[in-house]
Subunit: 592 residues, 2 copies
């Protein structure tokens, strides 16, 4: 792994604090906060709070939890991440896909929304926190790299559809039995559709329209009217506030809940959550372990990718292992303050960044505003219709839909597109965790398949240069006494038999060749199976009157061949040439 960058140590930091900086990134900006950052941080913090209050409640609903849990999960975790995390713009809290994973993972063990269910969500946050912290301490941040872009694209698209289907009942105002997977949900929705509550559906659709107007149409309108740029962002980002506020007023004023049965959020306990230890039982922890691992993995992946992409825009760097510690601490915070598993959300972090967040202070502002709402203003949320929360979810997750990426992959790397499609259908038709595993297995299998049938090329000299290229693609000169073959892959167990067959065939096709030159510029490693095969091959070719030479063997591979005694066995270092040019000068002399 690359070493984590050491931030420049500022002169005014007390010396006893210096060792702490590595593990407390907040000190980087906190100890010498620059006043010019203040306006941006305050503005961004406020805007994110406006987005996060309805989103937090909506995602809690998606996770099958009471709305206040989503708010609790947005306060202490955010503060802890600000202390321990390395990103200055990441907005940590409830996110859509994690919430879905919580709902899917807990459903077999407790009734949706029951006290047992809420307790299991706390336990899950505790486990996710411990897993992330362990991975951070063991410096295992790199494992997330094994989820390929293709798997993520396939998984995300399917997850959006699963989330959409699971929330559609709130838009229709119907109740459906707990569903087994996507197809079952759709089936249940179709059966329940005749019972749609028209008023609820109208409110929901109007909420969606309102949210889309604020985010997509209003900024263009304001720009056309010549409104100053500094005003456009705050105005368009206040959409959730207007839509949520408007729908609360509408429901309360017209009595839509009592008269038309529009489902609302209802009573939310007022006051900050108390500090309490999450329940713990070995049996439950064992049962939740697979879900906890999947959430840790997926959550970290989402968070690190947005954190890196935002940091690169300001030349800041993100340390993946420190990020794991930050997110782990945040999840522990959620577990001890009545929350549920959280992570850094993509869209909210982008909002934070574009609204001007310069430092973690922005997140502290957001957390404080949410605390204010939770402490005093929850009664105002009583009449908030669930259809509006569903609208918040729809609009948020629809931005994650990305089928163009699959099309693009089809042009660029066909196997990646196939992997994405396999993952997509596996998530949709089996379940989320199996889907991710299937995708992971498919991407590894395709990679192995490709490397098991390496590209090899007979090469010749380009003009009078010292450069040798594929005879099928370039105008080159060859030599009939020396067959020069470039092997375009590391040699390992899965491709040794293929290599053997290919070279035997190539030698058979060149009866005049007395030397076989293997060009190793693209061989990055040779394993034990491949060494055995090369040994056998060289012996076999010797009997057929063909001597094997090598060129452009790279340093690490040469070291390995020498350690194995291979160089001595093939006839000493004279058999290995530094460059193909040298080899052909020494061995050749019979231009074809």
């Amino acid at each position: 792994m690359a070493k984590s960058p050491t931030p420049p140590v500022s002169a005014d930091l007390p010396s006893w604090l210096k060792p702490l900086r590595r593990y407390l990134p907040i000190l980087d900006w906190g100890l010498n906060y620059r006043s010019e950052n203040l306006v941006g941080d305050l503005m961004a913090g406020t805007i994110v709070a406006i987005v996060l209050i309805p989103q937090g409640m909506a995602y809690a609903m998606l996770a099958g939890l009471p709305p206040q849990v989503g708010l609790y999960a947005s306060m202490v975790p955010m503060v802890l991440y600000t202390i321990f995390g390395t990103s200055r713009a990441l907005s940590v809290g409830p996110v859509a896909i994690d919430s879905l994973l919580v709902a899917v993972g807990l459903a077999p063990f407790a009734a949706l929304g029951s006290p047992d269910y809420i307790a299991l969500a706390l336990l899950l946050a505790l486990m996710v926190g411990l897993i992330e912290i362990s991975m951070g301490l063991l410096r295992l941040g790199f494992v997330v790299n094994f989820l390929s872009h293709a798997v993520i694209v396939g998984f995300t698209n399917a997850a959006v559809l699963v989330i959409g289907a699971s929330q559609f009942k709130h838009l229709l105002g119907v109740s459906i039995p707990q569903s087994e997977g996507f197809a079952d949900t759709v089936h249940n929705l179709i059966k329940a559709a005749p019972g749609t509550n028209g008023v609820t559906l109208g409110l929901g659709l109007a909420s969606i329209a309102g949210l889309l107007f604020f985010s997509n149409v209003l900024p263009k309108l304001l720009k056309q009217r010549g409104v100053p740029t500094g005003w456009i962002t705050p105005l368009s980002r206040s959409g959730p506030l207007v839509v949520v506020g408007g729908s609360i007023v509408l429901v309360a004023a017209l009595g839509l809940h009592d008269r038309f049965g529009v489902a609302v959020v209802g009573d939310i306990p007022r006051g900050l959550p108390s500090l309490s230890a999450p329940p713990f039982s070995i049996a439950q922890a064992q049962a939740l372990l697979p879900t906890a691992f999947v959430i840790s993995f997926v959550a970290f992946m989402e968070s690190i990718s947005v954190a890196k992409s935002l940091a690169s825009k300001r030349r800041q760097r993100i340390d993946p292992n420190q990020e794991l510690l930050g997110l782990g601490a945040a999840n522990l915070g959620a577990a001890f303050t009545g929350g549920y598993p959280i992570t850094g959300g993509v869209s909210r972090s982008v909002v934070n960044f574009t609204a001007g967040a310069n430092t973690g202070l922005s997140a502290l502002v957001t957390a404080s505003l949410i605390a204010l709402v939770v402490a005093f203003f929850t009664p105002l949320l009583y009449s908030l219709p669930l259809a509006t929360l569903a609208a918040v979810i729809f609009v948020a997750v629809s931005k994650l839909l990305d089928f163009q990426s699959i099309q693009r992959l089809w042009r660029v790397a066909r196997m990646d597109a196939v992997t994405a499609v396999i993952t997509f259908w596996a998530v949709l038709l089996i379940d989320i965790q199996t889907g991710i595993l299937v995708g992971l297995a498919a991407s590894i299998a395709f990679y192995l398949w490709r490397t098991s049938r390496p590209h090899m090329a007979e090469v010749g000299r380009v003009g009078n240069t010292e450069h040798f290229r594929n005879i099928k693609r370039h105008e080159v000169q060859t030599d009939e006494s020396v067959l020069a073959i470039r092997i375009d892959e590391s040699l390992y167990f899965a491709n040794t038999k293929y290599l053997e067959d290919y070279l035997m065939q190539a030698v058979a096709n060149h009866p005049k060749a007395h030397a076989l030159l293997l060009i190793g510029a693209a061989i990055n490693h040779i394993d034990g199976s491949a060494l055995d095969t090369l040994d056998t091959l060289i012996d076999g070719l010797k009997e057929a009157g063909v001597t094997v030479y090598f060129s452009e063997i790279k340093g690490p591979v040469m070291d390995q061949l020498q350690r194995a005694g291979f160089i001595d066995r093939i006839g000493g270092p004279d058999r290995v040439f530094l460059s193909t040019h040298q080899a052909m000068q020494t061995l050749g002399g019979h231009p074809a």
Copy 2:
């Protein structure tokens, strides 16, 4: 896959037979048998029969089956393989590791040696035959390549210990309860050791000594005495005949069975097995499926490796997919004639080859001799002590022990050695099937791990040549305005983040560089994730004032980059140079 070689069509073959040759390799030698091959074939066939009769009975005992099953499995299957298989020296029949897999796989479903157990062994042979034939028709012979040499070495060593432990009771003449794994077997043996039957143990040890004398000492003695070479092989290979015959005579003459309780083979039905359909039930087939797959896989691997190694010594070629058809047919033969799963055995095939087998006629001689024994002479085997059969197994499998290979791997490719050790312990401590899967997973994981942290090198010009090498290993000239980095790995999802970190760090360490030249000679493929990363990286470096160029991008990768629109996006084909030499001439000019 390489195309299977077409054997030279001989002129005297009737034209209607030609299409059949591909699927009936027996026609290759059968239609124009050369008389000079006859002596070698007769001699080798007879010697293999002498080895195989006791081995077949011993391996049947190892598989928990009555001794005649091992003999039945040595007749029809051998004939069928001779018709359909491509190797002329392979000796097909019961082998040690397959027999162990049968015992382990059937134990949970029926009592050892019961009629149900025998029926399940037939079903297993049927399933193995069908799996192998299906794989052959689907041309899936290549999948066996994914079992690395390291996994095979680790697995084989552990299997030898498991086999040895399972047969030790026959040497001691004790009976122990059915054991759960290796440790349990050893524990049971220690508990039972005080009840050792001294006469049985003496007979067993004497048998081992006799077998070792014939195979290891006698050939040297005969050579010293000047016995002609042609006589040495038949004399030393008759060891099993002498030892088995001697022990039968000893037990019968001295009444060791009745007087001292020496366990003997007992009644063996006389006469050839009748043709009968193996029992078939879906439920049983499902239960046996994992075992059937493991046996098919392991059996094919053992067989193909010895077949290839023997064929290469005589410039003959083996077609893996046709081999699957041959072995599959042989297993079907076993299933219909009272046998159990069989394959080509390593040591017996080597005996066959060195004793002079030139064609499949040798195998037909072996099968005929065994049929003769089964038809008329089984009563002679009544007094054969089980301890002698155990001795046959010990001596046969001890040749498979190969811990030197693990030591060698440690020097050559450390991760391979670790994989072998992991496989060894997993087979010994968990079970055989899990052990193979663990080994397979470990070898793939190590491979991915290695490719996820690719070797990269800053390069410079070697002297005045056009050749560029690692600045850390060679005396080279560099240019301070151009940072030239060779990437020694294909770029794919698991290493893109590593690449990004490495290149950002490298650019930061070379503040005067205005150009970053990425040398792609060792990049064999780029996947979708890597393209995304390169896009981001190039954008990021542009902001930092560094332009990215490429050189030595290989044909297939260039095609891919063009399809993806990547070349246009980075600024057109001028950014890609054919050789590093050209690139440095164009971009450079500031020698460092």
